[in-house]
Amino acid sequence: MMRVWKFGDNIDTDAIIPGRFLTIYDEKELAKHAFEGIRDDFSRLAHDWDIIVAGRNFGCGSSREHAPLAIKGVGIRIILAQSFARIFFRNAINVGLLPLVCPDTDKIKDGSLIVVKEREGIVLIDGKEYPVEPVPEFVYRIVEAAGLVEYAKQLKEAPICTKSRL
């Protein structure tokens, strides 16, 4: 059971990590400034494996990888949103964060306790189940490897999605 940190629609990369911190590359250092200005308690109070839940178009704005890194630095591993901005979605996976699409995030409240059964395609809140869109196995592998570079290091060949592999 993990705590939900609820955010709204169109959370942009400047809200996730303000531009003045872009000279920092260390994820733990970036994490100290995550959501600074819009949610100051987040970086102090969020724990490992807490979950960010947001509305539409999470991570819109710039292509900076600092944004998913800052979130990952806090210890977050999963973000649930109704939709993600295109580049953020990729950047998140590539640094080892799992973005999951959940159409029902508007029913999830800040501070709720949540269980994400990502491989079963559901999240559990207050005994209720909500569907999340399933992602293929290799995405879990990338995330578990802590990002695309580490994943690629371990890999002999890319797991092309033929029928047997989906």
Binding site: R86, P103, E120, Y130, P134, L148, K153
Partner: protein, 488 residues
């Protein structure tokens, strides 16, 4: 987005997303009886413009043939991914797919190569499928640029990659004209305007350097297969109105983020009658709506273009099914379309030229991957006629590639432009790169046939860039102010 439950008895698609546990909204009695005995479809339906998602049990008995006919068809993009992955793929799925070619240039290439080494890459997946060239800072305009070129040349030598170096022109034009992309292929490039290759009926998209490092090593990449917006274009253009005016009006209509993560299929009579140059202009600017790709279904024009560029290529049919599910369909009638100008500082701020006619300009740029082809120079030369360019401004003309340069040269147009007062440069990105040359001072105004008018794109952040067609650029270069080419 709302979710509801319908116990359907047919499969709307044979491969909708499956979940092993029943999601919410499934009535308890149904859930109890079905649990652990079936899988669950997660289905997205389109009702007007709203997306509804619904769930349904997957029933384990054969589907009657009559019902199968009701099943949804596939878009051209879904077909390309399905073909590459050897089974049916639908929009929304995240898949690891093989790529047919990958392009790197002098700006993003060095970082991609670094990532390749970080990923413990030793040999690239296939040296013949990698296109390397330099176009942003050529000939090297600084010592760091020269160092980047040296770094990439060494990589090309070590890996056996053919390097076009600085000789051939703008990356996107070169990839297409040298036959590195063909209908039905998946091609990636470390540059946002890679979407241009959709003009030949391929799925092509721009990727970041980390992703490119992965591609260099494995020849594959994961993609979220995009939904498709179909732009159905019909009608005949007025004289001196064309593809650039069309795409500027579509960008203004859909908006800078209106097609985020989607593909745009350019479709309809007008597109079928359009030459390859015009199709490239349209697909090139798909990214300006946030799209992952632009695509034109291959037809006789495409196959004719491919014939000289890919030895032994044979035409095959590739198009969206008539019952394919589109995210959106929009219709555009071009018969009354006026020449368009995108005003500073966003590409989606397109207005008819009449709204900004008379605006003073300091520099005109005709070129770039968007409008640097022979056809574009013919369009400009026709407007120019026997006149000369206004002495009150600078006119910079840059063909997109050596091939386009030679065609323009042989047709006598280069001489015409030079005599009229233009500077004609060797093929490269030119002022559109915003760092190499042809830069604007604070307060200056540029009228450009390129693809972006963001603040600072062509120099000072206090300069202004307007975007237009080659015809409008030429007309305005004659008068010294933004001018409707139909009046010339």
């Amino acid at each position: 987005m709302s979710t509801f439950f319908i116990p359907i008895i047919w499969a709307p698609r044979t491969d909708v997303t499956l979940s092993t546990s029943p999601p919410e909204r499934v009535p308890a009695f149904f859930k109890a009886s079905m649990r652990n005995t079936c899988e669950w479809y997660l289905i997205k339906l389109k009702k007007n413009s709203e997306t509804l998602s619904c769930v349904s049990p997957k029933l384990h008995y054969p589907i009657p043939p009559i019902v199968l006919r009701l099943s949804m068809g596939a878009t051209i993009v879904e077909k390309i991914f399905s073909s590459k992955c050897s089974h049916k793929i639908q929009a929304g799925q995240v898949v690891m797919a093989p790529v047919d070619a990958a392009m790197i240039h002098d700006i993003t290439g060095p970082l991609a190569i670094q990532k390749f080494y970080e990923m413990k890459g030793t040999q690239v997946f296939d040296h013949k499928k990698i296109v390397m060239l330099f176009d942003h800072q050529v000939p090297a305009d600084s010592i760091p640029a020269a160092e980047n070129h040296v770094y990439m040349r060494k990589f090309a030598r070590d890996q056996g990659i053919h390097n076009y170096d600085i000789a051939e022109g703008v990356c996107h034009q070169v990839v297409v004209e040298k036959g590195h992309v063909a209908p039905g292929e998946i091609v990636v490039g470390a540059d946002s305007h890679t979407c241009m290759y959709g003009a030949v009926g391929a799925f092509a998209t721009g990727i970041g350097s980390t992703d490119m490092g992965f591609v260099l090593k494995f020849g594959a990449l994961y993609f979220r297969v995009p939904e498709t917006i179909r732009a159905d274009v019909y009608g005949t253009f007025q004289n001196r109105v064309g593809a650039k005016d069309l795409i500027l009006s579509i960008v203004a209509d859909i908006g800078a983020d209106g097609a985020t993560y989607k593909a745009i299929e350019f479709f309809g009579d007008t597109i079928q009658q359009m030459d390859m140059a015009g199709r490239m202009t349209c697909c090139n600017m798909a990214i300006e709506m946030g799209a992952k790709a632009g695509i034109v279904p291959p037809d006789a024009t495409t196959w004719k273009y491919m014939k000289d560029r890919r030895a032994g290529i044979k035409p095959f049919e590739l198009k969206s099914d008539s019952n394919a599910m589109f995210a959106e369909q929009r219709r555009y009638d071009v018969s009354n379309l006026q020449p368009q100008v995108a005003v500073p500082h966003n590409v989606d701020l397109g207005v008819p030229v009449s709204k900004v006619a008379g605006t003073h300009i300091d520099q005109v740029f005709i070129g770039s991957c968007t409008n640097g082809r022979f056809e574009d120079f013919v369009e400009a030369a026709e407007v120019l006629g026997d006149r000369t360019f206004s002495p009150s401004l600078r006119v910079i003309i840059i063909p997109a590639s050596r091939e386009e340069y030679l065609k323009t040269l042989k047709a006598g147009l280069i001489e015409k432009f030079v005599k009229a007062g233009a500077l004609v440069e060797a093929p490269c990105c030119g002022p559109c790169m915003g760092g190499a040359f042809g830069l604007l001072a604070p307060g200056e105004v540029s009228l450009s046939t390129s693809n972006r008018n963001f603040r600072g794109r062509q120099g000072s952040t206090d300069a202004k860039v307007y975007l237009c067609s080659p015809a409008t650029a030429a007309a305005s270069a004659i008068t010294g102010e933004i001018t409707d080419p139909r009046e010339m």
